[in-house]
Symmetry: C2
Subunit: 422 residues, 2 copies
């Protein structure tokens, strides 16, 4: 193991993990650093938030994935900087990790466009703790509505607002509609969950703006059929303990969910390189940070172009970048020619709208409705890492499908007091 | 629904839930009140703590179980007293619930024998949050051991102490042994989890004191074979941030788990009636509280005798009591003769010792080893409420069995800072 080049990978999302696995067997010593001990399958996180899946259905211990790869070790730790002179990654606890090659795959989070104080009232959905917090809030809102005798308060508790009509917002609104209209419809005595008001608030003129207009129109109709009120061209001007403000109007809503805005992690700041408006590093064609031949940036932290458009922030893009970077490092270690610049291959964009409906844009042709939903389900189950997760998710879905019940709807958490503030 | 007698059931554990279901169709209006929105299958809670099962594998939403029972409603709320004059149950938020019949099934918790300050350092295992907290502590201890360069600290992080060698303590110690020796044995680079030190500390002269001596002896040998150090006749004299004190000796241990001592919930205090040393209400032969013909106490909150011995604090006992109380109420409502006094039927006592080994005391005959373990597994899966849970637990176990991996080993939780104090 002596004197092999050291590869540090920061972040065990789709990009980082793919890079680590693609370096299996290479003559390097890999260290994967992450703040969490698990890889998260973010595309299904909204199912955890709406009590359809368990946290461990969408998360998988990193050590379980990489434990048998002998050139790779895993480190639980928080990175807060890079010393590009000494070539060290800096950890929050003061440790330094020396790198010969560095892969920054630190992802992105949601942004409140300068209103970070809204986060308390309108949590987002990026981490697994976000999902369990949201699940607790959603389920507690129904419990409190059942308990209260104040009609206005009951109405407020049974109003849910989702901000942002991208794929996450559309999926959340659809899943809450399904939860209230079906899964828990018969669970209460004083309230009728089918009367839950679900608002999807979007600043732009259409839902799923990244998809073709015909699919946006279809998704809009589907959402409305499921009982979601879609407010287009509507700006959120405030969030508080009672609800949210839309223009001059205040709307009482106990549960507000933030699904708008993406901000990259601070990798650009660590390196002192140029970033785009969302904070993404504007990488070179071989995915290195400008000025650093041995530092790669991949996934949601990188701004990459293809056919004059930005590469979308989706799992397949991050995975392709991870694979590419591993090829570059392998070539260098083996003194082979440098691979050609990275080229993104787009296979399609998709979003699901609750039960039995989805839209898929394959470029040349489109799919929508039930068949798109099944394809979406099969694709997601297939891509989940690990045999157990695949079986478990398939089984949960099958049960949900047959019974309309949601087995994971437990209100768990020590911060009951925080929840009481709703 | 007018003027039907009101039955309030406090607690949706085995006793309360069985009583509610046994009253299905009776001419009463039932309200089940619980602080949590789920029923917990406590016998498998230690599997959640040791990353073998998901929270939702051992918990089931109360509304899902009782949602279709038309004479029953469910209320999320915290009871903190009973007004026996007005016949009202008092909720923490100020509400009052009028009862004609009251069933108190509020369970028990662990006790630190007057040293409540130990709880911070030596959490117990009664609630689902206890289990997820313990899981986080156990898994983080290994992560920190991998990260540290201080040999003494590494040893402390890899020392686990379980206090109390009843069924829960024996199961926890066995499960930690299995986790460290098998499931995560190959996950780390700097440490060898197989060298984890696991102590089981018991004040009395043998493990599983409620079982016959021959089964205790067998369990002791099995634990030692699995690498658990069993300290008998050993009193814990202190717990602190660094470990625990045994007599005059201080033992550095990052994770201490409390599985000793049972204290009943404060039902006796609410009613102002006599309690035994553990706080249990000394009920009459028909399970009513002394002096109150319409107030029943069942499960771990009640002290009941059979054949001159106390009825054990196990699920079948609570369920039999719940069924009995429902019969008494039904008879009264229908103006039938009062049923004969409650008689407990003991079917057996059992405990599992990690993988492939368990002991069962059927009274006339005993079972031990592999066959007892399989019987234990089948019995537990069978008794789990709901088809999904049954399938899910069976599947998780099957995977664990085949692969030795533990899929639920996620370190989740907002209180990272609390965990850092380890």
């Amino acid at each position: 193991m002596q004197n092999r080049p050291s590869v540090i990978i920061v972040g065990a999302g789709f990009g980082g993990l793919t890079a680590a696995r693609a370096l299996d067997g290479a003559a390097v010593d890999i260290t994967v650093v992450d703040q969490r001990n698990f890889h998260l399958f973010q595309p299904l996180l909204y199912q955890v938030a709406t009590a359809g899946l368990n946290p461990s259905d969408v998360a998988w211990p990193i050590r379980g994935i990489l434990g048998k790869q002998s050139n790779c070790r895993v480190l639980l730790g928080e990175v807060n900087g890079v010393d590009t002179v000494q070539k060290d990654v800096l950890l929050a606890d003061g440790r330094r990790l020396h790198y010969d090659w560095l892969i920054l795959a630190t992802g992105a989070t949601h942004t409140y466009f300068g209103h970070d104080e809204w986060e308390t009232y309108a949590p987002g959905l990026k981490r697994i703790d976000d999902a369990t917090t949201l699940r607790r809030r959603i389920l507690l809102a129904f419990e409190r509505a059942e308990n209260t005798t104040d009609e206005a308060e009951r109405k407020r508790l049974m109003t849910f607002a989702v901000v942002g009509a991208g794929p996450t917002g559309v999926e959340m609104a659809g899943a809450i509609a399904e939860l209230s209209r079906r899964a828990i419809a018969q669970d209460f005595r004083a309230i009728d969950p089918r009367k839950t008001r679900i608002l999807l608030v979007e600043g732009g003129p259409r839902v799923l703006a990244a998809l073709p207009e015909s699919l946006s129109a279809f998704a809009l109709t589907e959402l409305q059929k499921k009982g979601v009120e879609v407010l287009l061209n509507t700006a959120v001007t405030g969030c508080d303990a009672q609800g949210l403000s839309l223009g001059d109007e205040h709307l009482p809503a106990a549960t507000v969910i933030w699904a708008a805005g993406v901000a990259a992690s601070p990798a650009a700041r660590w390196l002192g390189v140029a970033a785009d408006r969302a904070g993404r590093v504007q990488v070179t064609p071989d995915l290195t940070a400008p000025g650093y031949e041995n530092i790669f940036v991949v996934g949601d932290t990188a701004a990459v172009q293809y056919k004059g458009k930005p590469v979308p922030g989706i799992a397949p893009a991050a995975k392709q970048q991870g694979t590419y970077v591993a090829h570059v490092i392998r070539a260098a270690v083996n003194n082979k020619a440098k691979p050609k610049p990275f080229r993104y291959q787009h296979f399609g964009s998709l979003a699901t709208i609750g039960r039995h409906s989805a839209v898929i844009d394959f470029g040349p042709f489109h799919l929508k409705g039930l068949i798109a939903w099944w394809l979406w389900g099969v694709a997601h189950v297939y891509f989940l890492i690990g045999a157990r997760n695949r079986t478990s998710v398939a089984m949960h879905w099958f049960f949900n499908y047959l019974s309309f019940s949601r087995g994971a709807r437990l209100i768990i958490g020590d911060d009951e007091r925080k929840a009481q503030q709703l």
